[in-house]
Amino acid sequence: MRRVALVRLAWAVPILLGVSLVAFVLMRALPGDFAQAMAGTAAGVTPEFLDSIRADLGLNQPLWQQYFTWLGHALQGDLGTSFVTKRPVTGELFSRLLVTAELTLIAAVMAMLIGVTTGLVSARLRGRADWIIRGFNGLVVAVPNFVVATLIVLLAGLYLPSLGIFNYTPFATDPLANIGSMLLPALSLGLGVSVTISENTRAAVLEVSSQDYVMVAQAKGLRKRTILRNYLVKNALTPVITVTGLQVAALLGGSILIETIFTIPGMGQFLFDSVTSRDYPVVQGVVLITATVVVLVNVLVDIAYARVDARVSYE
């Protein structure tokens, strides 16, 4: 068990290094001058001023040296200074990461609840219920999350204008209102993922249902509910947990759109604002942090999976 965890963590190191390299290259491969972008287009930008910025940023050093300097700073938690606010990126990014994490978590829980319920119902009842759920899933999977979000905003605006659910409230001010304001955004974010979970749950339950030990349980006359609880759910949910973990990347990617639509001050909105204002250190920071979170979550999922399922091992 501990070995599996260590091996997976060790595997994550080169991937994270690669991730940092991609984030670095994305920045440095920009057409145009990095120093020019930093100075902005304000009047009074002299060539000498640009040179001083270049010297400041170490842009006159060879590329590999720049990369290692940047990586060294990043490892110490220094992601540079925003071009727009002139403040360190790290502090702002961290507070926004918490907001995005909350949104993603609520969305994941919702997706789990909807997905596992519909998947179980689909697999156990079969017949018409199965048909309806799968049809619904088939349709929902084709509706992009930003379309879901827009339609939700439209419907709420038309029929429940007094609801005021779209005013984001910080958690510190009012925790309940905060969670309330997250529910609809989380639903639009999690709905697509719930389909994946639903289909996987259905397949897993059907698979487990045909196993011999379930037949034995039935043959010895155990009640349906007992079989469901002790045999089916337990064994079928293991792969479902893995699938849900793998969806974290999808949720984080989708949060960019959802946060922009619902004006939630998370990392996605930060990224979007920075992309429009060409605030490259922020873009780089968000890309780096998001990918790191995805890698770490995948490692956790692998470890959790190995813990639940003893057959998993790595040489």
């Binding site: 991937i15 690669g18 390299l21 994305l26 057409p31 088939g138 349709l139 929902v140 999977v141 084709a142 509706v143 992009p144 999350n145 930003f146 379309v147 827009t150 339609l151 905003v153 439209l154 605006g157 038309l158 709905l191 697509g192 993922v193 389909v195 994946t196 289909e199 397949a203 897993a204 059907l206 698979e207 045909s210 792969p239 479902v240 893995t242 699938v243 793998l246 969806q247 990347a249 999808a250 949720l251 990617g253 989708g254 960019i256 759109l257 922009t260 990224l271 979007f272 992309v275 060409r278 873009v283 890309v287 998001t290 990918a291 995805v294 890698v295 995948n298 692998d302 999976y305 998993v312």
Partner: protein, 304 residues
């Protein structure tokens, strides 16, 4: 569909069942037969939807009742016999914009996916067939790319390159190539050990010929399914980027941009939102239906 990876993850986990014995659906012989007959219906439905979309897109200039960029004084007028879906905030005909707007969106998706499939085939075949060091390098590089949510990477690349049509195509091709490569590599690994490939090698046929004549045909089915699925994902990506204002530049219409513009006035003119929303859903649904139909007809392992 939440970001494109929903189906991508399912597919890739399918490829890697050897590494992690995750869920694989039971499909006995009787079940498989039933699924395949259901597949024909899906395939026909998908082809019909595709035909409708293609005809509307190709003949767009003749079908569209108005010039999609021509403004008029009647802004945000509701549906009428003159404007079936009403007009937008600066008096442009919504229906005409929808018809013409599909062209840009679909064109970007189509060219980008064609590029991604070509690059992915090459990478996947190389990696899977050669194995060894090449395979290791390619797979580790892909691991890195997979750490980035597709949409995040797309935003970052477009932001770096600038939002023009060629750059959008390039971005999407870059972002989807790794997914394609992984889909190709899986089957290549098992196909290259099959007897007919061994036989071809033993009589001294050139490796390039073996790959082209004996390996490639056997991996075409999963590639076909994945291409259709990727098309639906790219339509999501293109429209989502346009929705955020990173799409093709105005005033030419595109679905994502239309949806985003319409949000401001959507309580007064709901049709301006529902039109592009329906168009986007129709396009993604077309390729998903097509992919599922193909998968069941061709009996490719994987889940819907």
């Amino acid at each position: 569909m939440s970001e494109s990876s929903s189906a991508r993850i399912t597919l890739t986990s399918e490829q890697e069942t050897a590494a992690a014995p995750a869920a694989a659906p039971a499909s006995g012989p009787t079940k498989r037969r039933r699924r395949r007959s259901g597949g024909r219906g899906l395939l026909i439905l998908g082809l019909v939807m595709l035909t409708v979309m293609t005809v509307v897109t190709v003949c767009g200039s003749w079908i569209a009742p108005y010039d999609p960029t021509k403004t008029s004084a009647e802004s945000l007028s509701g549906p009428s016999s003159a404007h079936w879906l009403g007009t937008d905030s600066i008096g442009r005909d919504v229906l005409s914009r929808l018809i013409i707007g599909g062209r840009t969106t679909l064109l970007i998706a189509l060219i980008a996916v064609a590029l991604a499939v070509a690059a992915g085939l090459l990478l996947g075949l190389l990696s899977g067939y050669l194995g060894g060091v090449v395979d290791q390098i390619v797979m580790r590089a892909l691991d890195v790319v997979f750490a980035f949510p597709v949409f995040l990477l797309a935003i970052a690349v477009v932001a770096a390159l600038g939002p023009t049509v060629p750059n959008l195509i390039l971005t999407i091709a870059i972002v989807y190539t790794p997914i394609m490569a992984r889909v190709v590599r899986g089957p290549v690994l098992s196909v290259k050990r099959l007897d007919h490939v061994e036989a071809a090698r033993s009589i001294g046929i050139r490796e390039v010929t073996i790959v082209r004549r004996h390996v490639l045909p056997m991996v075409i089915s999963p590639v076909l399914v994945e291409t259709s699925l990727t098309l639906s994902h790219t339509i999501f990506t293109v429209t989502a980027l346009s929705f955020l204002g990173l799409g093709p530049p105005p005033p030419d219409p595109n679905w994502g941009g239309m949806l985003s513009e319409a949000r401001q006035f959507m309580e007064i003119a709901p049709l301006t939102v529902i039109g592009p929303a329906a168009a986007i859903v129709f396009a993604t649904l077309t390729f998903i239906v097509l992919a599922n139909g193909l998968r069941e007809m061709l009996d490719v392992a994987g889940r819907s």
